[in-house]
Amino acid sequence: MDAITSLLTLLKLQRGDTGVIARIDGHGPVKQRLAEMGFTKGATVGLAHTAPFGNPRTYLVRGYRISLRNEDADKVILESYAGVPGSGRDA
């Protein structure tokens, strides 16, 4: 893998978008917990809801809803990304 030019993370997802996980950055308990909850390589994730102050957010992964804080979501790197047409995102 060459140097990361622009990191595409969970945090970039807009409502209705989905992405496929490439890897999780960092080490330690948070990473293990995320992996155990289904955030593993190849899993598809979508954004469901954003809390009143923009943090945390709720994601859809492996058919259930889970909420993560933005600082943790930012460690989940996506390999591909599919936006919803007309979601107002300039891709």
Binding site: R23, I24, H27, G28, P29, V30, K31, Q32, R33, L34, A35, E36, M37, G38, T40, K41, A43, A48, H49, T50, A51, P52, F53, G54, N55, P56, T58, R62, G63, Y64, R65, I66, S67, L68, R69, D72
Partner: protein
């Protein structure tokens, strides 16, 4: 043996554990199995008390243990450690793994770890009705083969499939069939690592060990659970060797072994689901949870709706609760009056009427309020709204250094602080957990409710519901303030991540709500029967003795003089009542309880508390329910102040100004946790030091905040 027992009458007792993720109907299944009757049993291995229900099925007596809901057996949270230790050390005969049929993928993660433990298992594919509605079809035979145990479709809330599940448990135990020879295969590199560690384990272990057990130990070690290894052998060299191996893996793959194992497990699960679960039609059905979330998690309306729900809860507790409360009150008064009429005058009658009925009855009448409060909490919890509340509040919680998950125990604290403190087990990091344990007692539990209901009713009758709500808000504010303070002084540094499931919304059955409420009611009544009963008797004794005291006036002679004066009847009655109350007040001061109160009262001088109030606070240290019963005992001594149910209210109204009453409510809210809570803090925090810290912290905050109320209130007076 002296007694001959026929073979048929011998029932075999077996232990069955319920294991599964949170929010999948495991508690409902336990309720169905135990029929609502359960006892707390301490298990030596896991060293915790767990709820056990007894089930008789096909000649077998089963002790069903409800294990805490967990997502993983990696031993990173206290609950996970409890489950691991229970399965490993207390060795249940069968583990029933409860699965949410509609969310198999994540549910099976725990299953893959359970399979590796090599214990006999039965699977309950629960909520299968929901999954069927979504068009899912399960190949049960294939699932059973792949998971290494019988699997039964169940719908716990309607008791569907429960008998078949129990049949499968009996069958598994009796046939002792080897169901557990399933191996989850990982990728080559990981397999190599596992085999390497497995080899080390076998070599260094003194006794012979089965390959399966060695493999499990190797996987646990790679997952980072060193406790299991240390328990199995004393070889420090083994642990070091494994740590080296883990470092190798990280170097080779650029990832933790635990993460690679999770990848492998999900890979296995994905394959398994492809082979066993079929999606037929109805894929794009209307998703109710999404629709409800669009409203309840709305970025603008979400928080106001949540606050409105809380306000509604307290308003209902007060307004709806006051009707059954009045009936109970009438009953208690009637009982007191009847016994007064039947029993001969004397100490025994005083003990029963003033001590026991006054004390226990004074609390019993609050049972409806408490049940309504618990009904709301049960509703929020079982519908899935509680997790949404944590989601909505996380940013606020995080800004003061708390974990969003701490919000759930704090809300549960409105019911009772003891389960709230136990619920902190869901928080992973010890520091975050300790912080939550320390601030949980500031959440106004239902035992404090009677004080507010009484005082708000007497002093702020027009907005009693709002005052009660306000007291709870004040509790939250102090808890958050204390968290901020502790975070900056004691617990510095980064907190835990916030990783929380939002379960689908589900409507609980009326039955399960009622059972939940009934459970709490029984708990409350037991407390009354024990702590409050004994407390009331002690308080009564302290205020009834010593018997012979010297009074400043000759009340007997004065009474005679009033009678002799032969004034108008109402004038005479008023004069007599006044005399009687004056005598009672003087007597109270001379009794032991009065002496104690007068001795301690100077501490509360600046708060304006009189000695009766002081005594109530002191007795409330046992359990806050006793505060009101102490008032009941203390102010009823004079009798006839205003015969019947309003006597205490009338007495209180004259005893202090509203501002003092408010300060008293604040003090009651915050001052030291009750004995049961102190015991819970000690158990969950691990040392008496933290329990003592909690007592000192709460007393200091209570005193300061009450003073604050008096001073600020004084500005407006």
């Amino acid at each position: 043996m002296d007694v001959k027992v026929s073979a048929s009458s011998i029932t075999k007792t077996v232990t069955v554990a319920l294991l599964g993720n949170p929010n999948i109907g495991k508690a409902t299944l336990f309720q169905q199995l135990s029929g609502g009757h359960h006892q707390d049993v301490r298990f030596p291995g896991a060293d915790v008390r767990m709820e056990v229900g007894i089930v008789h099925h096909a000649g077998m007596r089963m002790r069903v243990v409800d294990l805490p809901g967990i997502y993983s057996l990696s031993s990173t949270t206290p609950d996970e450690i409890i489950c691991r230790d229970f399965i490993m050390l207390d060795k249940p005969d069968v583990v029933i793994n409860v699965l949410d049929a509609g969310n198999l993928e994540r549910n099976l993660f725990l299953t893959t770890q359970l399979i590796e433990m090599g214990v006999p298992r039965v699977y309950a594919l629960n909520m299968s009705d929901e999954a069927h509605m979504r068009g899912m079809r399960f190949n049960m035979e294939a699932l059973s083969m792949k998971l290494g145990g019988p699997i039964i479709e169940t719908v716990a809330r309607f008791r569907r499939g429960v008998e078949e599940m129990l049949d499968a448990v009996v069958d598994t135990i009796e046939s002792a069939r080897k169901y557990h020879n399933v191996a989850i295969a990982y990728d080559d590199h990981l397999e190599e690592a596992i085999e390497g560690v497995q080899q080390l384990v076998k070599e260094l272990h003194p006794e012979t060990m089965s390959a399966g057990h060695a493999r499990w130990l190797a996987i646990k070690a790679l997952e980072g659970d060193k406790v299991v290894l240390r328990r199995e052998s004393e070889h420090e060299s083994l642990v070091t060797a494994i740590e080296d191996k883990c470092r190798d893996i990280v170097r080779m793959h650029g990832d933790d072994a635990a993460v690679l194992l999770a990848d492998g497990r999900y890979g296995y699960i994905t394959g398994l689901i492809q082979q066993t679960v079929e999606m037929t039609g109805a894929l794009r059905h209307v998703n109710i949870t999404d629709m409800v979330d669009n409203l309840l998690l709305h970025r603008v309306f979400g928080l106001p709706l949540f606050l409105a729900a809380l306000w509604l809860m307290f308003q209902a507790t007060f307004t709806v609760g006051q009707y059954p409360m009045a009936w109970l009150d009438t009953g208690v008064v009637w009982l007191g009056d009847t016994l007064t009429a039947i029993l001969p005058a004397g100490l025994t009658r005083d003990l029963i009427v003033d001590g026991i009925i006054g004390g226990v009855g004074g609390i019993l009448i609050f049972l409806p309020n408490i049940m309504i409060l618990f009904l709301f909490i049960a509703f929020f919890e079982t519908t899935g709204y509680m997790a949404r509340a944590a989601f909505l509040m996380d940013q606020v919680m995080h800004s003061i250094g708390l974990h969003g998950k701490a919000f759930i125990p704090l809300i549960m604290g409105f019911g009772c602080n003891v389960p709230a403190i136990m619920a902190t087990r869901a928080i992973e990091s010890r520091r975050d957990r300790l912080l939550c344990i320390l601030i949980a007692p500031f959440m106004s539990c239902s035992a404090r409710l009677p004080v507010y209901v009484l005082f708000a009713g007497v002093f702020f009758a027009d907005w009693a519901g709002t005052v009660v709500f306000g007291m709870h808000v004040a509790g939250v504010a102090v808890a958050l303030g204390a968290a901020l303070m502790l975070r900056t002084v004691l617990f510095r540094g980064e907190g835990d991540a916030f990783v929380m499931e939002l379960p689908p919304y589900r409507l609980p059955t009326i039955r399960s709500l009622i059972m939940h409420m009934w459970d709490k009611a029984v708990h409350f009544l037991r407390k009354i029967a024990g702590v409050v009963f004994v407390g009331s008797i002690i308080i009564w004794f302290l205020q009834a003795f010593p018997r012979d005291v010297e009074l400043s006036r000759d009340y007997v002679a004065e009474r005679a003089a009033v009678v002799a004066a032969a004034a108008a009847p109402e004038v005479q009655r008023a004069a007599l009542t006044q005399l009687k109350n004056a005598e009672a007040r003087e007597l109270q001061k001379e009794r032991y309880l009065g002496q104690i109160g007068i001795a301690v009262q100077p501490v509360f001088e600046s708060l304006g508390f009189n000695w009766q109030t002081t005594i109530s606070l002191m007795t409330g240290m046992v359990a806050k329910e006793i505060v009101v019963s102490t008032f009941g005992v203390l102010y009823n001594v004079g009798g006839d102040v205003d015969a019947g149910n309003d006597s205490l209210r009338a007495a209180l109204a004259g005893a202090m100004p509203p501002l003092t009453a408010l300060a008293f409510m604040v003090f009651t809210l915050l001052y030291m946790p009750c004995l049961a809570t102190i015991a819970a803090i000690r158990r969950e925090a691990g040392t008496w030091g933290w329990a003592a810290f909690s007592i000192v912290l709460s007393l200091a905050l209570a005193w300061l905040m009450a003073l604050f109320v008096i001073m600020v209130g004084g500005l407006f007076a």
